[in-house]
């Protein structure tokens, strides 16, 4: 069914169709509507979900962990400071191998206080053991939330799906939503997994685990992340077969004969696609790489993909505050180490705190990357695009 939905509405709609057993959540701008809309579904009896209204995001994730440990299908949503407040519990959810789905609306972290989009909140959680999927628009957000349920239950890892704050969360777009029945048939009952309420097979979760076994358990969690990519890909393929829409781990646009490429994630990648079209009309061979799955980092795909370009520009809506540059840039550099061909790369940090990035600015980035491709030289490896300085 074709409908007009904001990103928040699209995510809440997906949650309604998933009909999770438990949602524990606390509202925060710009993700408030997800929780608010979902709570109205609960009130109206449209879902069977037990909704736990908690006093903080730390408690929200704690309640999600408890419910998931008891075997329930669990979802929640948050943004920015809320995700930061969950931080401690994120690691516990992942290490207990709990399939929780978290809808995150990307928003900058304080200070200064700002409610608009950048990716510093979820990227600050990148080492917490969660699978991370960054979406471009409301349609992909909707589809990815449904996919995330399947992925989390197969990989036995929690999954966060993100949308760009306000740009997507509060922007209304045309999307195609599935029938409730289709979604529920696709997801089925959650597969049986070890849980605290299985009295025939009692287990312990999260006890003290010192020098004797902690390392083995952590190693097993790491292996869970290392082997999660095939689950994500399998779900993407199944989803395409059933519903026709396909989202690869790394989305690419007009790269087949491209001389240079720009890499981005989130909503700006959509704008960059339009820039690619405009530049192609002028005969310039450029393409776009959109990182969709960032945890696990698809290192082999990325390495293979970017070795062929004369140069790559990397757009980051975040900075690692480490002197090294933005997150995507730092990780891409790591991937390129000892690659047989190492294209020159340049980092463009943009859009912090919701600063708009225009078509013209993205075109300037492409033009510069084309120049780098010709000269092979990068004079300033990390620059800030659209900032007054």
């Amino acid at each position: 069914m074709i409908v007009a939905r904001t990103g928040n509405e699209a995510m809440a709609e997906a949650m309604r169709q998933v009909n999770p057993d438990v949602v524990a959540a606390y509202p925060i701008t710009p993700a408030t509507e997800i929780v608010q809309i979902f709570s109205s579904f609960v009130h109206d009896g449209l879902v069977d979900t037990k909704f736990v209204a908690v006093e903080s995001e730390h408690s929200a994730m704690s309640a999600c962990i408890g419910a998931a440990a008891a075997g329930a299908r669990v979802m929640t949503g948050t943004a920015s400071q809320g995700l930061a407040l969950m931080h401690e519990m994120l690691f516990i959810a992942a290490a207990l191998r709990l399939p929780i789905v978290l809808c995150v609306v990307n928003r900058s972290l304080s200070a200064p206080i700002n409610i608009h989009c950048d990716h510093s909140d979820t990227l600050a959680s990148r080492d917490s053991g969660w699978i991370q999927i960054y979406t471009e628009n409301s349609q992909e957000a909707y589809d990815s939330v449904i996919q995330a349920v399947k992925i989390s239950e197969r990989a036995l890892l929690p999954v966060m799906v993100t949308i760009d704050g306000f740009i997507i969360s509060h922007g209304m777009e045309r999307i195609d939503i599935l029938d409730d029945r289709e979604v529920r048939e696709y997801l089925g009952e959650p597969p049986k997994r070890p849980n605290l309420l299985d009295i025939d097979k009692p287990i312990t979760m999260g006890p003290l685990d010192l020098q004797d076994y902690f390392f083995e358990h952590k190693r097993s969690e790491i292996e869970g992340m290392n082997t999660s990519l095939p689950h994500i890909e399998a779900v993407a393929r199944e989803y395409k077969e059933r519903f026709g829409r396909y989202y690869p781990v790394i989305d690419t646009y007009r790269i087949d004969d491209a001389e240079v490429a720009v890499m981005a994630m989130g909503s700006a990648a959509g704008t960059a696609k339009v820039v690619v079209d405009r530049m192609r009309e002028k005969g310039k061979k450029v393409g776009l790489i959109r990182m969709r799955v960032v945890r696990p980092f698809p290192k082999n795909y990325l390495k293979e993909l970017i070795q062929g370009f004369a140069a790559v520009g990397i757009m980051d809506r975040s900075d690692t505050l480490s002197t090294l540059g933005g997150h995507l840039y730092v990780e891409t550099r790591a991937v390129l180490y000892r690659a047989s061909h190492q294209p020159p790369i340049k980092n463009y940090i943009y859009g912090l705190g919701g600063r708009d990035i225009s078509l013209e600015e993205i075109e300037e980035i492409f033009e510069e990357v084309l120049e780098i491709g010709k000269s092979g030289k990068v004079t300033e490896p990390v620059v800030y695009k659209g900032v007054r300085e």
Partner: protein, 190 residues
């Protein structure tokens, strides 16, 4: 239809965002790809606000701000003096403004030469029909009459359905809004 961009100017509380959403929904029902998004600043009742639409026959990938809209709709007459409502407007652009003044007077005031200027006293229509100066729904009617971008009857039907959902216990309010849209459609002039 190639990509069409619209900017709505209003004051906090006048329903610029709602108008953009209603308009996008109506366009969607004619098979268009749409976007509707507000500008989120430090919003206060009465402060100048903006909302935006994109319409196209093709999927819309753009997620940047709108700088040169083809159409500008102004819900509040006083904004013409405080905000640069014609910023980025191309020569073939269209301004639809809620004012008691004539199109020629507005054109002169805005310093426009080639662009089309349409005026309608949407505040009067809103007060007469809705009993309050909420000019957003009448301006929908004025916009459609001025630009012809959507079929008027199908827009009317879509807006009626949306308002019925929004105000399920107030059919009278829905009917008054529809009346306001029709009036503005008839009264807007160039």
């Amino acid at each position: 239809m190639p990509l069409l961009e619209i900017r709505w100017h209003g004051r906090g509380g006048q329903g610029a965002k709602t108008a953009a959403l209603l308009f996008a929904d109506a366009a969607l029902e004619t098979g268009k790809y749409i976007q509707a998004f507000p500008e989120y600043g430090p919003e206060r009742m009465g402060a100048p606000v903006q909302a935006f639409n994109r319409l196209s026959d093709e999927p819309i990938h753009l997620h940047c701000g709108i700088k040169s809209p083809k159409i500008v709709v102004v819900l509040d007459p006083t904004l013409a003096e405080t905000v640069n409502i014609t910023e980025g407007l191309p020569e073939d652009g269209v301004v639809v403004i809620n004012t008691t003044e004539s199109p020629d007077a507005m054109r002169e005031k805005l310093g426009l030469t080639k662009q089309k200027v349409f005026t309608v006293d949407a505040s009067k229509i809103a007060k007469e029909t809705l009993g309050r100066d909420i000019p957003n729904t009448p301006m929908l009617g004025a916009l459609i009459k001025a630009t012809g971008i959507l079929n008027f009857d199908s827009m009317l039907k879509s807006v009626e359905e949306k308002l019925k959902k929004k105000f399920p216990n107030n059919p009278e309010l829905v009917a008054k809004n529809i009346e306001a849209i029709k009036k503005a459609y008839q009264e807007v002039g160039r």
